[in-house]
Structures are given as C-alpha cells and as structure tokens.
C-alpha cells in the first residue's frame, strides 16, 4: 500500500457495490465450471431412479460399462467409508441407494467418463429390475400410511390452550396448504475434486457449508478431516439449496478422484438437479383458534405437518423454525403448536431462505385473515389488535421475551407513507362497481428471529494477516453467494484498521484457513463473520498499539487509532509505517479471530429458552388486480419498510430486500411444484416451473429501510441480518389477492386460498365465493 495515500474515509454503513462487480459484468468472475480443467480430468454423472419407492432386485451394468468413453462406474460397494451424507447424522441419506429407492430421482450409481457427455449418456443405460412398493407422496398419504416421521417432532406450549379455546367467545377452525419451492440457483450444483498426495483431496464445491462438505467427504472416504480441503470462491446463488445439497456431489467427485487418482468434476443437468435435490418444505397446517369480539386472539392450537421427503436432512430444524414463527408478530395468551415432520417418497426437502419461518408465518396470517372475515373488519385492524406489546403481552410460545419490538412504529409509518387507508377505500369503491376486474390491498408484518436454533452453530472464525507493506489478507468462514457478505466483512475490517478497502484482499473461503465453520445460512453471515474479523483485527491492533507505545515512548493509553494510522501522543504514524516497524521489532501481524453469539440458549425438550439473539422486523403493503373471468392478476404496487438495524451497506441491503420480496412472491404465486401420481416431479425446468421475471416486478415498488432502527444488541455496527426476513414480506401479495377474491362475496366469506396462489387458485376461489356467498 502506498503510504502516502490519502486518509481513508470510513466505509462501514456506506453504499458500496459488490467487490466482484467489474468481473461479473465482463464475464471474468470465475465459478467452478469455469475453472481450467487439468489434463486428465474425468467427469461423473449420476444415474437416477425412475421409481418413487421400489426394491432394486438386480442391476445389469453391461451396457453402461461398454458404452463409448466410459472410464468406470461407482456404486455403494466402492465407498471405503460410510455411504451416507446425512447432515443430521441419522445415517438416513445414502449417496447411492442400496437395495431400495425412496424417491423418483434418487441416485443409484455414478458413471465416470472421459467426457461429461459420455458419462451422461451411459448413466441411462443400466437395466434395473424393480419390485415396486407403495409410495406415499404427500402429507395426507403419509398420514394414511401410518405417519412415519423422519425426525423428532417439537411441541411449543404456553398457557392453558384447552381452557383458552373453551372460554373464547368465538372460534375458528381451518386448514391451509402451503406449497414448496425450488431454489433454482442459476448456477446448479457442482463439485470438482483434485486428488493429492497420500489421502489428500482438494474439492471446489458450490456450497454454503464448506466445513460440512469437508466432514462428509472425510466420512465417505474413511479418512480424517485434515486430509480434505474444501474451497469456495463464490456461488451462483444458494438460497439454502447449497447448505446440505452439495454434500452428495462433492462426495461423488472425491470418491472418483481418489479411486482413479484423476481430477473429477460433477455437474448435473438442470432437470436432474431439480429432481434429485431437495426443496422448500410444503406444509399442511390445521388450526383451531379462539378469539373475542374485537378480534383479539385468546388461544391457538395448530399442527404443522410437513412433507419432508425420504430423509431427515434439515427437516428437524426447518419444522422447528416453522413453529418459532407460528406467532409472526402476534401475542397469543395461550398456545400449543406441534410439528409433524413426515416421511414421504419424494426428494428430501431442505433449507430454503426463511427455513420454515415463512410457512410458520403464512399460517399465522391465515387465522388473522379468518378472524377479520369472521368479524367483517379490515385484517389490518386484527393484526394491530394482536401485535406483541413492549412491556407486557410480549412472551413468545417458546418463552422468550420480545425486548426489541418495533412492529407498531414500523406498521404505523408504512400505513401512512403508503397511504394505506385512502387506497383501501378506493379499492373498496372500485370493487363495488362489480366489474370483471377486482382489486385487493393488504398490509402484513414480519418479525423474524435471528440466530441458528442449533446454538452451537452460532460461532465463526476469521484469519487476518497484515503483510509488511500494510496490505491485508482477509479470510473468514462465510461464503459469498451474491448476498454481499464478502464486501460487508471487508468494510468491517477496513474501518477496524482505519485503512481503505483497497488495502484488503478478500480471499476465497477455504477450510484450510478457518476450521469448523458454520453454514452461511440463517441470515447470520455478516453478524458472525463480521464479528470474527473484528476480533482478529482487535488482537493485531492491541499488539501494534503496544509496539507504538514502546517505540514512540508514550503510554499505551495515549495511542489512539485514527483513519490512516495511529496517533502516538501527538504524533501521527501512518498504518503502513507502523506495520513496517512492527515487523522489524518482531511483532506478530497475524491473528485468528473468533466470535460466538452471546446470551442464547435453547432447551428443545422443554420448548423453552432464548433461541434468538434478536428479531428483524418489516412490513409491506401490496395492491393487486385480478380478472374474475380468467383468474389472472397483476401486482400493481408494493411498498416496503424494512428493519436492518443500522445498515452496514444500504445499497446491498436494499438489493436483498427487493430480491427477497420478489423471490417470496414467486414462492407464493407462480412457483408450483407438481408431482404426478407415480411420484415424478413434472416441473423440473424453467419451462414448467415459473420463477419471477423482470416483467413480474410491480410497476410501483417503493422499498425503504427503517433508518431510525438500531439493533439493541451489540451486533457489528448495530446492524441486523437481512438475508431471509424480506422474503416473508411477500405475504401481503397473498392477502391482497384474498381480498380481491373475497369481494365476490362482499367480504363475508374467508377466501382461504392455498399457496401458491396461481391464477387457477384465484379462479377456484372466486367460484367458491359465488357458491358460498350468503344470500
């Protein structure tokens, strides 16, 4: 670094663009499939089952083996360690099926070919003799088949629910089915393994969780973790779909690489990726809610049943988080919520942005809506009547007290800034004209708990080296998937040292630099890794300050950090100069930082604790127009006010909020997963699975940060997590569509649309309104 460079301005809380921007726009940003392949690279391709549930009686590999370009075949018999990549360590997720397949699309073996095309073609040539078994594809079928669970269910309970329901003046029972969602990360799953000496193997994996890939590969190869290095420079999107779903691909690449001592790459086709990897859980929620004449909830009793697929994967924590968000922003005097994580003969569902929370909240919004229609009120009034209080009415179903509640202020501000009341009147007036087009408007809140509920996950490490010339090398355990984590952590480090961002080199994430990291998930990336990097800087700065005190002969207390360097007494010393002299005095200029979230604990057996360090809040208003003849609709305007505490980087945070909202809107409106009766996913490409397009963005889309908000907890820069919470802002689209549909029966019948609210569902809703409309 040039020591004559100008004094750097602080960069935290500033609008800074993604660090790789110039490479992204010029096509130079390297993803795994872009890496130069060493001579001799082989390609693996998975053979997938075309049965939902069947015994494998026999496999004839002859045609596979003799196909052109085939180098070898990998089956379960070729695995030196364990044939399992279960992240829950329940040993229920084989890499290659043995004896039986549990879902359509389950990997059975892999073909290793000289080219990807050769492996891909040969993978279809095995002749398999099957004996079909009965398959349970969804929640109802799973229950009918005996209701096998993939993991321990959870119950949250507070107060006397039975008495609360009995005593309530009014009561409503209902059911909502909430659909799943495919991640459709634009870069599909991929892994590239390069064998090394002895047991060593290096794996480039598109994963949000390099440490887990490392552990899984070690188990599968039957070697120690220290022999496995996992690298991730960037992902082309993750959204939770690369929290555990990359494990299998990395394991297959590593197995083949070690077996044949050649580099091996594996990248499934999009269609196979969509069939063989897990998705957001779909839920069926049955509820029984008691309330009074003002719409105040007295008691909630609900069962959250989830289609988990054939293995546990993350279904335990996902269904737990659904229950943790069964309150959304509402206080329940008495509550009992239970999860039912069901085994089904479908792909094992997994993490997806929000991790069960969105489904938990969607159900809460449904009973709020039911109450509003039951009483003939604006659902917003019911929401407000049930919001958590600040001093009382503030204990969650898991016995954590909400101490940072700002939902009231947020909603009031949004109600005003979006002109909600006047627009609602206009919508009602429009609908009384009784035309073919109907409008709806709704305001929904979000309160989302931040922290991994598996408490031990709330730790992070960083490794910071300062070189003799004052340039800085930054590694941490977080992974970059477009969310802007790398730039945010670099901002933290730049300000900690008082240097400009150009002094910092952001290194690719690797298990060799920072060990035992957690998944970059649960929105926790910058909270955890930012703090770990800050801790590393703190250690190096302490040593530098002691050194400065010594050579400039001032008390350590008289050494102050200022932008660009230090003040030693009255003398300014530039950072690079300080570092150069510290090196000559043999001061250690490298440190490993560490952070663990304080004050959190969770007793799952008793359903009590403080699983969340804090809550992030938000609210949105959506206005829609539906066509009552076709069911088609448009989202005309969306206003969002969202809380990210004191933003580390407003432009990145706004991008997360906009992107999260649109992705949530896709989940709740157009993205429909369809399995046929035989258990094959029929929506396995973007031709049939519809994610939002540029033209689906609402023409009026006002997104603002709640600039007055600061995290009450001591997070980095008093910021709040932003990855997941905005996804749930899209619930207002569903509620607005409901209102438009309900206009067909003068808002006297609760519309109860299941999600995704496709045009077909709107049309069915309208039909139902017409039949059930009171005379």
């Amino acid at each position: 670094m040039n020591k004559h460079s100008t004094i750097p301005a602080p960069v935290m809380h500033q609008d800074l663009r993604h660090d790789s921007g110039h490479k992204h726009v010029s096509g130079r940003a390297e993803y795994i499939d872009d890496m130069v392949e060493p001579v001799g690279t082989l390609h693996a391709y998975l053979a997938l089952s075309d049965r939902a549930h069947a015994e494998i009686v026999a496999i004839d590999f002859e045609a596979v083996r003799t196909a052109p370009g085939v180098f070898g075949i990998l089956t379960a018999d070729d695995i030196p360690g364990e044939n399992d990549v279960s992240p829950s360590h329940k040993h229920d997720e084989p890499i290659f099926a043995v004896g039986k397949v549990h879902f359509w699309g389950q990997p059975i073996f892999a073909v290793i070919g000289e080219t990807r095309e050769a492996a891909r073609r040969a993978a279809r040539l095995a002749r398999i003799t099957w004996r079909d078994l009965p398959a349970a594809l969804d929640v109802d079928a799973a229950r009918a088949a005996g209701g096998t669970l993939v993991t321990e269910p959870l119950t949250l309970r507070r107060g006397d629910v039975e008495a609360g329901l009995e005593a309530a003046p009014r009561r409503i029972k209902g059911r909502i089915a909430i659909g799943g969602q495919d991640h459709f990360y634009l870069e599909g799953q991929i892994a590239f393994a390069i064998p090394g000496e002895d047991e060593d193997v290096i794996i480039h994996s598109s994963t949000q969780h390099p440490s887990e890939v490392q552990l899984m590969v070690a188990h599968v190869l039957g070697i120690s973790q220290h022999a496995v290095t996992v690298n991730v420079r960037r992902m082309g999107g993750g959204f939770g779909g690369k929290e555990t779903q990359g494990n299998l691909f990395a394991a297959v690449a590593a197995l083949a690489a070690k077996r044949w001592n050649r580099p091996v790459k594996i990248r499934p086709d999009r269609d196979d990726d969509m069939q063989a990897t897990g998705k957001r859980h779909d839920f069926v929620v049955d509820y029984d809610v008691g309330y009074d004449d003002d719409g105040r909830i007295q008691a909630v009793d609900a069962v959250y049943a989830a289609r988990c697929g054939f293995s546990s994967d993350l279904s335990g924590p996902v269904t737990d988080r659904a229950l943790f968000h069964a309150d959304n922003a509402y206080w329940y005097p008495a509550v009992k919520v239970r999860s039912e994580p069901l085994y089904t003969n479908t792909v094992s569902n997994t993490a997806f942005r929000g991790f069960g929370g969105p489904q938990g909240m969607m159900a809460a919004e449904r009973w709020i809506e039911d109450i509003a229609y039951g009483l003939g009120k604006d659902p917003l009034d019911i929401r407000k009547a049930n919001f958590y209080g600040t001093d009382d009415r503030n204990v969650t179903p898991y016995h954590q007290t909400v101490t940072d509640n700002i939902i009231g202020r947020l909603v009031d501000e949004l109600e005003t800034s979006s002109d909600y009341q006047a627009r609602r009147k206009a919508v009602l007036a429009f609908n009384t004209m009784g035309g073919v087009l109907r409008k709806g408007i709704a305001l929904t809140p979000v309160k989302f708990g931040i922290s991994f509920t598996a408490t031990w996950y709330n730790q992070a490490g960083a490794l910071v080296h300062v070189y003799r010339d004052g340039s800085i090398h930054l590694s941490h355990g977080g992974t970059e998937m477009g969310q802007g984590l790398y730039i945010k952590v670099a901002q933290v480090l730049a300000d900690a040292f008082g240097v400009g961002l150009e002094a910092i080199k952001i290194m690719a994430t690797t298990t060799g630099k920072v060990p035992n990291t957690s998944a970059t998930a649960a929105s926790s990336g910058s909270d955890l890794n930012g703090m770990a990097a800050y801790d590393a800087a703190r250690q190096i700065k302490a040593r530098l300050a002691a050194h400065a005190a010594r050579i400039y002969e001032v008390a350590e207390a008289d050494v102050a950090w200022v932008p660009g360097g230090i003040m030693a007494g009255r003398q300014f010393v530039a950072f690079s100069e300080l570092v150069a002299s510290a090196y000559l005095s043999r001061v250690q200029l490298s440190a490993a930082g560490f952070y663990k979230t304080p004050d959190i604990h969770w007793d799952r057996a008793n359903g009590r604790g403080r699983p969340f360090y804090y809550f992030a809040y938000g609210a949105s208003v959506s206005e829609v127009t539906i066509d009552t003849l076709t069911g088609e609709y448009t989202v005309d305007r969306v206003d969002i006010l969202h809380d990210v505490g004191r933003s580390l980087n407003p432009v990145i945070d706004l991008g997360q909020i906009e992107g999260g909202f649109i992705q949530g809107m896709g989940w709740l409106t157009t993205e429909e997963l369809v399995w046929d009766a035989r258990g094959q996913l029929r929506t396995h490409a973007p031709s049939t699975y519809k994610i939002p397009l540029a033209s689906d963005v609402p023409p009026i889309f006002n997104v603002r940060l709640a600039e007055w908000s600061q995290n009450r907890e001591m997070t980095i820069g008093r910021s709040k997590a932003v990855g997941e919470p905005p996804l749930m802002l899209a619930m207002s689209v569903v509620e607005a569509l409901s209102m438009a549909v309900a206009s067909e029966a003068d808002y006297r019948v609760a519309p109860r649309l299941d999600t995704p609210v496709t045009p077909e569902r709107v049309l069915m809703g309208i039909k139902r309104m017409r039949t059930e409309r009171p005379a």
Binding site: K23, E187, G188, Q663, A694
Partner: protein
Amino acid sequence: MHITLSINGKDHELDLDPRTSVLDALRDHLDLIGTKKGCDHGQCGACTVLVNGRRINSCLTLAVMHEGDAITTIEGLGTPEALSPLQAAFVAHDGFQCGYCTPGQICSATGMLEEMRAGWPSHVSEDLLAAPDLSDAEISERMSGNLCRCSAYTNIVAAITEVAEARDEAV
C-alpha cells in the same frame, strides 16, 4: 467437422462434433467461460450472446450453423479495465447479486437496445408503429427472457434505462 468461427472479431479454427452448441463450443473448446449455462434448454437466458448483433440463446443453436457469422460474447463487449457503457451501468447500479445471470443479461440488453432503436414493438407496446418508449414496462418486458433468481431486476432495469437514455440524448 472442421469449422471457422468468428468470435469477438477473431477467427477460431475448430474441430467439432456437429451436435456441439455454440455455448459448448465457447465454454469447452475456446475457454470463453464468460457465457454461462443455466439450463441448456433455451429457458433461462444465461447463455445469451450476440450473432451479427442479434441476441440469441447460444445453448439452442449449433456451432456449425454459424460459419461466417460475427459472434460477440460478454468478453467481446468490454474488459474489467475498459467496460462497455452497459457493463459500467450494471456496476454503478449494482445490477446483480450472485452474478451468474449477468453476462447473459448484458448481452441481451445490448441486443435489446438495438431492437428498440430499430423500432421493434413488444408485447406491451401500445402503438405497434410508433417508436417504443423507454418505460420500465417496455424494458422489463423485453428482458423477460433472462431469468435472475437473485431478482436484481430493479437494478438491472435501472442500469439499462440509464444507458438507453444517454444514447437517446446522443442521437
């Protein structure tokens, strides 16, 4: 098959299986890895390149069909040191998150602006004969063949609009 492809102004001699797509020719045979594969089915737009100035999904067209055509990829539009106006606008507006769709978005936008300039109407054009206006609706509609799962659409449209307006003023 032996063919010559003109890519970013340079001729490349290639021996290809006639079934090779332009996308695979670029990525696997020429190390032009800026063009991405999102679906390989013509459904996502990640592989968009320009052929004689027109945008095209390179996964859906065979390399052998393009002898004599001028193919432009993201690498041909600009370099990190000398970005094209659209590339620079995408940086300025943060028109991406993970970046995987970005080369396709920029190639597509480059071709799309030419289509607008030539007066081609779109599905949302009110008047099929008038010059299309630079509304968000027009630009979004014309970019709807390029999926962005991160949904950076707002910033993508803002970046394109900025370049389109600057160009309009220059005319």
